[in-house]
């Protein structure tokens, strides 16, 4: 039976005190190693019934168009062997152009946009490709430390095809001057891995006179060698 590789040292340590919300929520005990059985090598294959074509365009869902910089965001969901992950659910959510989330907990005094709710979803195609039309989210302040501001980002939720591949993350934009002071972005220990959270501007994806194009590929854990030796 084939299992999935274990990404040692890739993810942020749960215990990252610079991000204050970890203090009362990060577990204290080290996790117990779980060998991968049938429940771990399978996972939800959530099909087309959860998604309509309109769900991938966050700019056409209301009476008017949202304010902000219109953008096309596309890329592929792959595993580490370069194999595309087809027919996989991708969900995104984000702040509006003013840096305000359409959520009752967000009390940042920036305007809500009646034409933007900030949620999108789509399925990857046979080549693992997703595509959204949205607006560029704004930066916003939060209370982690004095003058803490989140870099512009879009939240992503990925399923892949196995429980082990489930991933929730955030995508950032090139050259954001707020990276240096953001404990969430900097919680990824390897600087090269951190860079993989940043999309790139792509003029081939850009539609002239209409919207800038950005590309971001997402790489999920790939298959590893046999999990158990037979009869071991």
């Amino acid at each position: 039976m084939t299992g999935y590789e274990r990404p040692e040292g890739l993810h942020p340590p749960l215990d990252t005190p610079e991000y204050r919300s970890t203090l009362l929520r990060a577990p204290r005990h080290p996790p117990v190693r779980l060998e991968q059985g049938l429940t771990e090598i399978t996972g939800p294959l959530l099909g087309a019934e959860r998604v309509t074509a309109a769900d991938a365009d966050l700019t056409t869902r209301h009476a008017g168009e949202p304010l902000g910089e219109r953008m096309i965001l596309t890329g592929r969901v792959l595993d580490s062997g370069g194999r595309p992950v087809p027919d996989a659910l991708v969900e995104i959510w984000q702040a509006n152009a003013a840096g305000r989330y359409n959520h009752q907990v967000d009390d940042h005094p920036a305007p809500l946009d009646p034409n933007f709710d900030g949620a999108g979803r789509c399925l990857t195609d046979s080549d693992g490709r997703y595509r959204f039309v949205t607006i560029k989210p704004g930066a916003y302040p939060w209370r982690n430390h004095l003058n803490a501001w989140r870099p512009q980002h879009i939240h992503f939720s990925l399923f892949g095809r196995a429980f082990t591949q489930r991933l929730i993350t955030q995508m950032y934009f090139p050259g954001d001057p707020l990276f240096g002071q953001d404990p969430i972005f900097n919680s990824v220990p390897d600087p090269q891995a951190r860079e993989r959270l940043i999309c790139r501007l792509d003029l081939d994806v850009t539609q002239p006179d209409w919207a800038l194009g950005y590309v971001w590929d997402i790489v999920l854990r790939g298959p590893a060698a046999t999990v158990f030796e037979e009869g071991a």
Binding site: M1, T2, P7, L10, H11, P12, P13, L14, T16, Y19, S21, T22, L23, L24, R25, A26, P27, R28, H29, P31, R33, L34, E35, G37, L38, T39, T42, G43, P44, L45, S80, G81, G82, E91, I92, W93, Y101, H103, V105, G118, A119, R121, S157, R161, F163, T164, R166, L167, I168, T169, I184, V188, A193, L197, V219, L220, R221, G222, G231, A232
Partner: protein
Amino acid sequence: MRGLTPSQTIGPFLAIGLPWPDGPEVVPAGTAGAITISGRVLDGTGDPVPDALVETWQAAPDGSFPHPDDPRGAGPAGFRAFGRSATDAAGQYVIITLRPGPLPWPGGGTEAPHLDVSVFARGLLHRVVTRIYLGDESEANAADPVLGTVDPARRDTLIAVPGEAGQFRFDIRLQDPQETVFFDV
């Protein structure tokens, strides 16, 4: 080999994009044989975590998965096997599902009925993974190869407490005291 994409926290605003109206219903409420698993997600002071997302994945009652990667073959389509519940202001989640079947363990032996669980929340930079076992399956639980790897003093944190009429209670404590056992999968 391509570099893997690292995890980031789900943050406090997951309710914008992730909850589904039918998320907690792996099967519709009222389905014959349905069980309800509910509980609270709690932080290190015992306060509720009102902005968590709890997801479950499990076998069907006959031990099959609706998935082609099961080397025994895919089970019948129609059973979603996946549940998703955001916590409410009291930190409460709920999953309505069917009792999973036991599974052959690749290393030999039989896994007791269980659900794999992912917990996401603000303050968690990647998900934590646990398992829900059912407290009325004590014989199967005693022989379970995964429970056998867990410190006996902490094993009870993985076992949902049966109540009346198919109800089970399973609290998730992110941090001591009585921290839930989490797995590195």
